[in-house]
């Protein structure tokens, strides 16, 4: 038993040590300390390193996390059982950090610039790791002591919390919540009038906010809206029907390009009306989705993923190539794409555009919501759950999947139209595979198969990075890690989809009645 504890302490130290080394090598130590510094109201100016205290705090927080983790895992009755494993944990973690400081410190001392091989490890950041000490040995000892003590502290904190405080706190919090008058609140929010008032408030907010907060936020919110549309569209085929489409951006690109070619003065000078071009672009995207699905959808499920991936690459390469330059504008893209009009008047200011996007999002969300509860939507979910059973209950799986793909391609086309028209420019680089990966991510983060989840996901993935500009370098890395972690820990997302509750049919089942009688 004791050996197992030691092993788990060792493992915790090793894992956190590797993570810490990795974070330092990609340059996150600096960013993390900077974020802490910003959190405490002391933002770091660009091109300067955060203060020493925040670096120590960041390292200590990692160690505390590690220590509390191993305390949680061992979960002993007495603290004395915890001492040795936690010392092992802190020792391993401290040793790895110290070793790293020793190695890089000696490199700096010898005047070797490791940035040729590890781009993020600048001499300044090594100095920061060495806690501004000059001698590598001193720095290593200091780091070792810091990490060991902090790990011990973490374990102690967790032990005390777990033993003595957590019950008490939980009891107080829950009693407080009860005393607030849960029942009163519930009855207030569930009253129909309250819902209408909330709806009216939200509508008023939607109407007035875009006029107030300036064009930058309108731009960000517009992007979020377009991604919500993409998320809802992808959700039709991936979330509800369970068929992964990786190259979803191809439909987005086709919608954007069709619309642009129809409305831009170059290269074709058709200059069509906005709404007509929108309809045509959506129809073309839907048609492409249909044609892609026709040969693929009755094959194994993964093939759709890989074929759409290949198709997205084909579309992007073709748009970029010299072959189609005279037709699609080539790598330069298309400029001066037409904006929307409303009864002949121009409707393309940024405030108007955000209204348009809001209306489209609400419209598509409404349609998708209705679809989910319809016969078609239930057929899709049946296919997702078990294709064979769905077939056996009389669902034509092929045509259902085809319908889902066509509709989702149409929604992507609509999003592409809005995107191209708002930016008044579109080029091959707007339609790289990253867009579809972003959409998959936001759908998963929010909760697969759930429209409010998608909205939350789009806000989190497209809106938050605007707030946290420091971490923009690490965004894709975090996406990747987040995807894996979400799948491992919470495969349903932050807002898991609830099945729409159906009313039981009023007609009683005769067989059931007969059984009851017997």
């Amino acid at each position: 038993m004791k050996k197992a504890n030691l092993v788990s302490g060792f493992r915790s130290g090793l894992v956190f040590g590797i993570v810490l080394v990795f974070l330092f090598l990609i340059g996150f130590l600096e960013t993390g300390a900077g974020l802490l510094s910003k959190f405490f109201g002391d933002p770091v100016p660009t091109n300067t390193l955060p203060k020493l205290g925040y670096v120590i705090l960041f390292l200590a927080l990692m160690a505390i996390w590690s220590g509390s983790g191993s305390s949680k895992k061992i979960n002993p009755d007495r603290f004395s059982e915890l001492v040795l494993p936690v010392l092992v944990n802190g020792g391993v973690l401290g040793l790895m950090t110290a070793l790293m400081a020793l190695i890089f410190g000696n490199y700096v001392k010898a005047g070797v610039d490791v940035r040729n091989y590890l781009v993020a490890v600048s001499p300044a950041s090594i100095k920061m790791l060495m806690l501004n000490l000059t001698e590598p040995v001193q720095a290593a000892l200091a780091l070792f002591a810091l990490m060991t003590v902090a790990t011990f502290l973490g374990a102690l904190l967790h032990f005390v919390w777990n033993r003595h405080l957590s019950e008490k706190v939980k009891r107080t919090v829950s009693s407080k919540i009860e005393s607030v008058g849960q029942s009163k609140m519930m009855s207030l929010t569930s009253h129909p009038a309250a819902r209408y008032i909330a709806l009216a408030g939200a509508l008023a907010l939607f109407f007035f906010l875009p006029r107030m907060w300036g064009s930058y936020w309108n731009y960000v919110l517009g992007t979020v809206g377009i991604y919500i549309l993409l998320g809802i569209g992808l959700n039709l085929i991936t979330g509800w029907t369970g068929q992964l489409v990786i190259g979803y951006v191809s439909f987005f690109g086709i919608g954007a390009y069709t619309f642009s070619l129809l409305t831009a003065p170059e290269p074709h000078a058709i200059m069509m009306n906005f709404w007509l071009a929108l309809l045509i672009a959506v129809a073309v995207s839907a048609l492409v989705g249909f044609l892609i699905g026709l040969p693929i959808l009755n094959l194994r499920g993964d093939y759709l993923a890989i074929v759409t991936l290949g198709f997205a690459e084909i579309v992007r390469i073709l748009l970029k190539s010299d072959l189609l330059t005279s037709f699609t504008g080539g790598p330069r893209g298309i400029r001066d794409i037409g904006g929307p009009t409303l009864f002949g008047a121009d409707f393309s200011s940024d405030v108007n555009f955000i209204y348009l996007i809001f209306v489209m999002v609400i419209l598509i969300a409404f349609v998708a919501n209705r679809l989910q509860r319809s016969r078609t939507g239930r057929a899709w979910e049946a296919i997702r759950e078990d294709q064979t059973v769905a077939k056996a209950t009389g669902i034509n799986t092929f045509s259902s999947k085809l319908l889902a793909l066509t509709l989702s391609a149409a929604v992507a086309g609509l999003a592409g139209v809005l995107f191209a028209s708002r930016n008044q420019f579109t080029g091959p680089e707007d339609h790289i595979l990253l867009v579809s990966i972003n959409v998959i991510c936001l759908m998963i983060v929010g909760g697969v198969g759930n429209i409010p989840g998608i909205i939350i996901g789009a806000l989190a993935l497209k809106g938050l990075p605007e707030l946290l500009r420091e971490v923009s370098n690490f965004r894709m890395l975090t996406f990747g890690a987040l995807l894996v972690m979400m799948m491992l820990i919470r495969p349903d997302g932050f807002l898991p989809a609830r099945r729409p509750r159906m009313k039981r049919p009023m007609v009683e089942d005769p067989q059931e009645k007969a059984e009851e009688g017997a």
Binding site: I246, S321, F479, G480
Partner: protein, 368 residues
Amino acid sequence: MKKLNKKALRVLLVIGKYARWTVGIALALFLTWRIYQVLFVQQAFTADTWLRFALSGLILGGMYALIAIGYTLVYGIMFMINFAHGEVMMIGAFCCYFVFEALRFIPAPIAGNPDLVFLNAYPILSILIAFLVGMTVSGFSGYFLEKIAYRPLRHAPRLILLITAIGASIFLQNAAMLLFGPQRKNIVNPDILTRTAGWTIQVAGKPVLISYTGAFSLILSALLMIGLYFLVQKTKLGRSMRAVAQDQDSAALMGVDVNKVVSQTFIISGILAGASGVMWGIHMGLVNHITGSLPGIKAFTAAVLGGVGNIPGAMLGGITLGVIESMGPALFGIDFQLKDVIAFLTLIIVLIIRPSGILGEKLTEEKL
């Protein structure tokens, strides 16, 4: 309305039934016409150029085949597309870069040449070290990938596994970018394997260079494939791998440790991808974080082309795809920018005409 729908559906299905044949025949006719045009009417390229295209296609195809085997092995056992497999290959290529860089800094002076470095003093040993390091690290990455990301999800729906694989692929790619920087790195080979050196043969009165690196990669990939074939067919490990691919539950009942076999499969596929990454580094000479993604996708295409779950199929598919990709643009008379388009179009066309691949699938269960 409903009747109309059904009728329309039936018409669609009939069209679908004949579409396969129609598309196939039309395509074959078009290809013959095109090849006739290019080879005999236009004569834009002479025999030596064709030989050059074919050679580079074969070399590329050998690497694709090695990666494709990894996809096929994993797909046969777990029914998942291991999207991170291309990134494992990228790790192999980076290992090659770092080993060569490290050995370039180790002096090994001999009499008469005091500036000699280890890389040039012991070139064969250096290449061996590069392969050993690359294959070991990639094998370990395959192992940890399975252990951390895929094993907890063994019985989860396949969509979740697929998304996890995509997440792992994005993570590895961006980790490599943040660690080593986004710019491409030049791999300096030992002097005996300079990329411009090779045998020259005369074809149609013009010299054609068969580079040493190319010949080396082709021979090595052939050897590795033969080795793998024996491993799968003759050894106990191979037998248990085939058993698990056929039926996990029955294999477990017969005393096969399924978890261990899955781990070993990931290690083997990682080793092969690592070897192909080192070869890529030696032959192509450039590596960065996206080195693995396009070859990865194409190798999966190759696996589908040959028939998923079928190891000889993956080899054949890899070679075929490499040759199509390098000869295709010239053969169809289109721009060389579009060679990737040809590779992906091949995939789509194969799936339309013969979804089970050239040599047929070897998957026991129809898992949709």
